[in-house]
């Protein structure tokens, strides 16, 4: 059954807005209702915006009155700055999800639920397998922040799907999303003129281009693919490699200092890279996307490297070390060598 009346949560943030706009543009869809606590910044087409906090039972009324059949729950906030603090972020992420699930459970009309999750739930540790598949348990559960929220959210979603087996639940575990409009801690991180890294470590990171994230969400909304899927661009980048591709000189910082530095940064509102994410900067994480390609039937158009390059391009990041200068320097040296040979030859 194709979706006709869709509810999108977290519609005021870039990904939610994109999804709402794309759904609204589709003629088969009768109604698109966007829910968020703040009004969306840009035009969402014919999306009806409901300013509602999913933390209170108002959401149930919205679902009931509109006769929603598909719920896209994208309101998982990674950045405490956006939510207005860690406590508020946790409220929105966890309590909001509980409220939404409660509303869905009561609903007669809802038959599909798509939940945005994150690969952060796999944690980051030195004992991680190279690639996580959907069935793997994290070696070390995320101890705080976003990752912990996501673990709890997924727990509630699992409970929900047990109670309402008739509702198809799709959980999409997104890798770090980078794209033109994405404002994530990682995006901010790469915008620094010099990039602090953990001394002695070089994590593998996996990225997802925002256009791929959008396509996957729309495909999930269109239906037919219940289950849990890792969503990430093919391949990986080493953090050092990414930093070099962005033309940023890295500044290695000893492990113990990284936490305090990140705490200082969040205090100064420069970037909020939660201390619990420091493990990610040391050990990285990569996931296996076989199930996405074979079961879900979607192959990301951007590889990790391509997603990163396009991020650098679209953001107009001015490289501190210009690759063109490097090429020029190389050519200059080659030219010098050639000239020396020509002079030396006769």
């Amino acid at each position: 059954m194709r979706p006709r009346r869709v509810l999108v949560t977290g519609v005021s943030r870039p990904l939610g807005a994109d999804v709402a706009r794309a759904l609204a543009a589709s003629p088969q869809i009768e109604t698109v209702i966007g829910v968020d606590t703040v009004p969306p910044g840009d035009d969402l087409g014919r999306t009806r915006f409901v300013r509602a906090d999913i933390r209170n039972p108002l959401i149930a009324k919205v679902i009931a009155t509109a006769g929603i059949d598909t719920v896209l729950h994208l309101n998982l906030i990674a950045n405490p700055v956006v939510a207005g603090g860690r406590a508020a972020m946790k409220e929105i992420n966890v309590i909001g999800t509980m409220q939404l699930l409660a509303a869905c459970q009561k609903s007669e009309t809802v038959n599909r639920l798509v939940v945005r999750s994150t690969t952060t739930i796999y944690g980051s540790s030195s004992r991680d397998p190279a690639l996580f598949t959907e069935d793997m348990e994290p070696r070390q559960l995320p101890r705080g922040g976003y990752g912990k929220d996501a673990v709890e959210v997924e727990g509630y979603v699992r409970g929900f799907s047990r109670r309402r087996p008739d509702i198809a639940v799709t959980v999409l575990r997104f890798a770090n999303i980078l794209g033109p409009g994405v404002d994530s801690p990682l995006a901010r991180y790469f915008e620094f003129p010099v990039v602090p890294t953990v001394l002695g470590f070089d994590p593998r990171i996996q990225l997802l281009h925002s256009s791929d994230a959008l396509a996957v969400l729309l495909r999930a909304a269109a239906g037919g693919h219940a289950g849990t899927f890792n969503v990430a661009g093919d391949g990986i980048l080493l953090l050092s490699q990414a930093v070099r591709r962005a033309g940023r000189p890295p500044i290695p910082v000893p492990f113990p200092a990284v936490s305090s530095l990140s705490r200082l940064a969040s205090r100064l509102r420069v970037v909020d890279f939660p201390p619990e994410q420091v493990g990610f900067l040391a050990h990285g994480r990569a996931v296996d996307t076989t199930r996405l390609r074979e079961v879900f039937g979607y192959t990301p158009r951007y590889t990790t490297a391509a997603a990163f390059d396009s991020f650098v391009r679209e953001r107009g990041l001015r490289p501190t070390i210009d690759p063109e200068q490097v090429v020029r320097a190389e050519n200059l040296l080659l030219g010098l060598m050639a000239r020396r040979r020509l002079v030396g030859a006769p």
């Binding site: 004992r127 002695g200 990986i236 492990f255 070390i321 040979r341």
Partner: protein, 594 residues
Amino acid sequence: MTAAGQPPSGEARIIPLARRPARRAAARPPAAGRPAATDPSPDAAQAGATVSPMGRMPTTGRPSPADGSPTDDASPADDASPAAGGAPSPDAGARTSKSRTASRSAANTASAASRKRPAGDAARVAELPDRSRGAKKPAADSARTSKTAEHVDGPASSATVDGDAKPTPRARRAAARGTTPAAATPASTGARKRTSTTRAGRPTPPAAEPTATGTGDATTATGGVGETDPVPAATAARAARIAPAADMAPTAGTAPPAVADTASPAGPGPASDTAVSTRRATATRAKPSAPEIAAAPGPDPATLPDVDAAPIADPAGLERALAGMLAFLRRRITGDYEVDELGFDADLTEHVIAPLLRPVYRGYFRVETRGLENVPDTGGALVVANHSGTLPVDALMTAMALLDHHPAHRYLRMLAADLVFSVPFLAPIARKTGNTLACQPDAERLLGKGELVGVWPEGFKGVGKPFSERYKLQRFGRGGFVSAALRTGVPIIPCTIVGAEEIYPMLGNAKTVARLLGLPYFPLTPTFPWLGALGLVPLPSKWLIEFGEPVDTSALTPAAAEDPMLVFELTDRIRETIQHTLYGLLMQRRSVFF
């Protein structure tokens, strides 16, 4: 002997198989004078199968129908020499080198040919003085002479191309003499060179052994030419003997064309009838050699492009090397390189890590590798090896062996303990050089992708065992590697490493310190930690790495991985194989350091 027994370090290490037989053969110089048929030793049989100059030689003596063409001038002796024919040429023994890789059947046929050959030639040579009286015959003979001379040229040039086996001055002289009268034709030498270069990789110095016998025989040959010298001549020997004969009958007009013909049978042969017939004979005879070359034992480690042999000597080469270095730096600075999803950085491994390890591999531990043909060129395989040495240097050396000396230059993807990935600086290097966490999913992922995976199932128990327990295999984990291989259906290749035990003899274990540092053990060696960082310099033991016969698992279904009994049995079998090979190699080892 010098050249045969002790080829300069570089290559001989690669074909350790060659060394012992070669030494043995060289140890009995009078092999030439040995009664003919008494020595159909396996050595000889295998020697025939080797394709270096010897492999080509059988063609000369092959009793092919074409052989009959020049026999209008052949004395009965030619046929009456089966007795002498049984004798293997001494260099045959010396060239056992790669032969073990050759299939037995090939060896037998080839050796049959080679057994016939020397006699035929010897007999023909013996006729020389008689026939040189005839007007026509010298031409034919000198043609034959020059042909044989070329054979000398073959090995000699191959030795030089080799850059490995330095031909002794004698060999060079013999070769030179062989070439001067006749084979000076550039065409022939060129052609020879081509063939010889294809073989140049063969690390056994082909010219060396002939020299020893060559000069010895040469004197007899020049003095009392011919008679019934049944000595199954070595190539050089024959050349040396024949060279003067060619001088005796320097029918300059006929000889060189004949030579040219041997090199390129298609060439115009304006010579006398006999010369032409000789040519035809040689041409036909030359043919069988081709399949023999083709049938050369597959993986020949020495044919690998030698990284050190990069043409840095000439300025253009230097410039290319510099340009390559610049390109590498550019790639690194701009991040323009590929890293696979497990974090393996081939660019870095090949251009930085391997060049750093290579001197250690070659110069310091002088690693000898055996049985590389047991490692498949493509597809997944699981290399299972014993672990030792306090620090896992053995893993690095095994990886180097497969990267440098395997014909397909395979990267070994190693499974490492989780400790490795939590140590700063070590963790990223480990991933970039192809290590990944030793866990079932990673192993199966790599094997499923068709990678060559290395595993050291003894783990810390093996690498950190006290020196007193050296070369005693520890428990082989829980057999996880076997079930990974069963699930992916890849062969298991037992690999035995000798020499790694002695690099850091672990005399004691400071357990308290280890616990404080969170390490599995804290080694106390004769030098560490007493000498500080200097104590980290390993002892220069001599290493042997042998890859054994693969254990095929394709017959077993992936379901077999669920059968613990089968998994344990297979684990045990592989452990036993490695333990036995260890004992065998230890017996062969002359000393720890040489």
